[in-house]
Amino acid sequence: MIPALALVLGVTLGLVLEPTVPAALQPYLPIAVVAALDAVFGAVRAQLEGIFDDRVFVVSFVSNVLVAGLVVFLGDQLGVGGQLSTGVVVVLGIRIFSNAAAIRRRVFHA
């Protein structure tokens, strides 16, 4: 309940305040969101499996966002930023889906 509230609060803040992102960071924002989502799905699954740990969650969240941003940044420098961000989205997408499947199994037993 509280996490959901925190999420809603964050989205509302972002939409209402429309913070200006430096132009240099703009390409990494969507990637950061996907990476962060991966961490959140992992946390939800861990919670359901009873092995959730706040510290792991925070660390995995931050490192996911940073690593994803770094990979795309490196790709940009090498001239393959678009392809690498596609790669990041695919890999994280697969992880999100398999975690979501595990969550679904836990919740609905189906």
């Binding site: 509280i2 996490p3 925190a6 999420l7 809603v8 609060l9 964050g10 989205v11 509302t12 803040l13 972002g14 939409l15 429309e18 913070p19 992102v21 703009q26 924002l29 969507p30 950061a32 969101v33 962060a36 989502l37 961490a39 959140v40 992992g42 946390a43 699954r45 861990a46 499996e49 009873g50 092995i51 959730f52 740990d53 706040d54 510290r55 792991v56 969650f57 925070v58 660390v59 995995s60 969240f61 931050v62 966002v65 890999v91 697969i94 992880r95 398999s98 975690n99 595990a102």
Partner: protein, 283 residues
């Protein structure tokens, strides 16, 4: 493939399991939320989720903003184009008025004596022939239009980048105009643009230009002359037959219509390239 399989099976961060294993190794865990460090950790999780929400919201806001900027720019450009077109039209109208004024003044000045009147007659004849004087009279209107979409194959596979076959080309329009001249038309205008001996019909990209002004289909070619004679000579002439061939081959549509009253605007007087008025007037 092992990488992909690994990714699918071990989707969950392994450190969760590790920490859990370490915790069970310790003494019975204290109810976490009760302890001070537990509360701090919950707070950290809360902060992280707010951060995620903020990231998402900002990203969404960014994309929206970019779209708004894009549509705004396009609307700006379209408005500018409309403005300029309106300006051009206004200036063209002004030119017509001024030209009529010049003609009237000239006629008034020359009507004093017989030599002047002869000169006026000659000027009128020359103006008619050169296309700078507006004319009216009976004639025919040839309307040519691109083939409707879907009736022809899209692009020529042998020459990629060329216009679809069903599109009217500049040379087709040239052919129509030449056919009309050959059918003894006395004055010709394309989409309201009067043609003179110096008018160029050519294409730039996908647009056909007449005197550097782009045309929009349908292409309406109006020719002043004896309607019956013009129509017979044009339709049976080589360019009329060619149009019929294009029509059956590529689906270009064309229509020839007789008109009892056509009025064609005058073309702009050609720019003087080398000549300049002599000092002290013509006397």
């Amino acid at each position: 493939m092992s990488l992909l399989v690994d990714m699918m099976t071990n989707a969950l961060d392994e450190s969760y399991a590790e920490r859990a294993a370490r915790r069970t190794g310790e003494a019975a865990p204290v109810p976490e939320s009760a302890s001070a460090s537990g509360r701090r950790r919950t707070l950290a999780g809360f902060a992280v989720l707010v951060a995620l929400g903020l990231l998402t919201g900002t990203a969404i806001a960014q994309v929206r903003q970019r779209q708004e900027v894009g549509t705004g720019l396009r609307a700006d450009l379209a408005a500018q184009a409309r403005d300029r077109t309106a300006q051009t039209d206004a200036l063209a109208g002004q030119t017509d008025l001024l030209r009529a004024e010049v003609t009237a003044i000239r006629e008034a000045a020359l009507s004093a004596d017989a030599a002047g009147r002869a000169l006026t007659a000659r000027l009128t004849a020359l103006g008619l022939a050169s296309g700078t004087t507006p004319v009216r009279g009976p004639g025919i209107v040839v309307t040519v239009q691109d083939a409707p979409a879907g009736t022809s194959k899209q692009t020529d596979p042998l020459r990629p980048g060329t216009a679809p076959e069903g599109r009217v080309q500049d040379r087709d329009l040239q052919d129509v105009v030449n056919g009309l001249w050959a059918a003894s038309a006395e004055a010709v205008a394309v989409n309201g643009q009067r043609l003179t001996a110096l008018t160029a019909i050519r294409s730039a990209g996908d647009a056909i230009l007449v005197d550097l002004r782009p045309l929009t289909p349908p292409y309406v070619v109006a020719a002043v002359g004896d309607p019956e004679e013009l129509e017979l000579a044009f339709v049976d002439g080589p360019s009329g037959r060619r149009l019929q061939t294009f029509s059956s081959l590529y689906g270009i549509t064309f229509e020839v219509r007789r008109e009892q009253e056509l009025s064609l605007a005058g073309a702009a007087a050609p720019d003087l390239r080398a000549a300049s008025p002599a000092p002290g007037g013509g006397s």
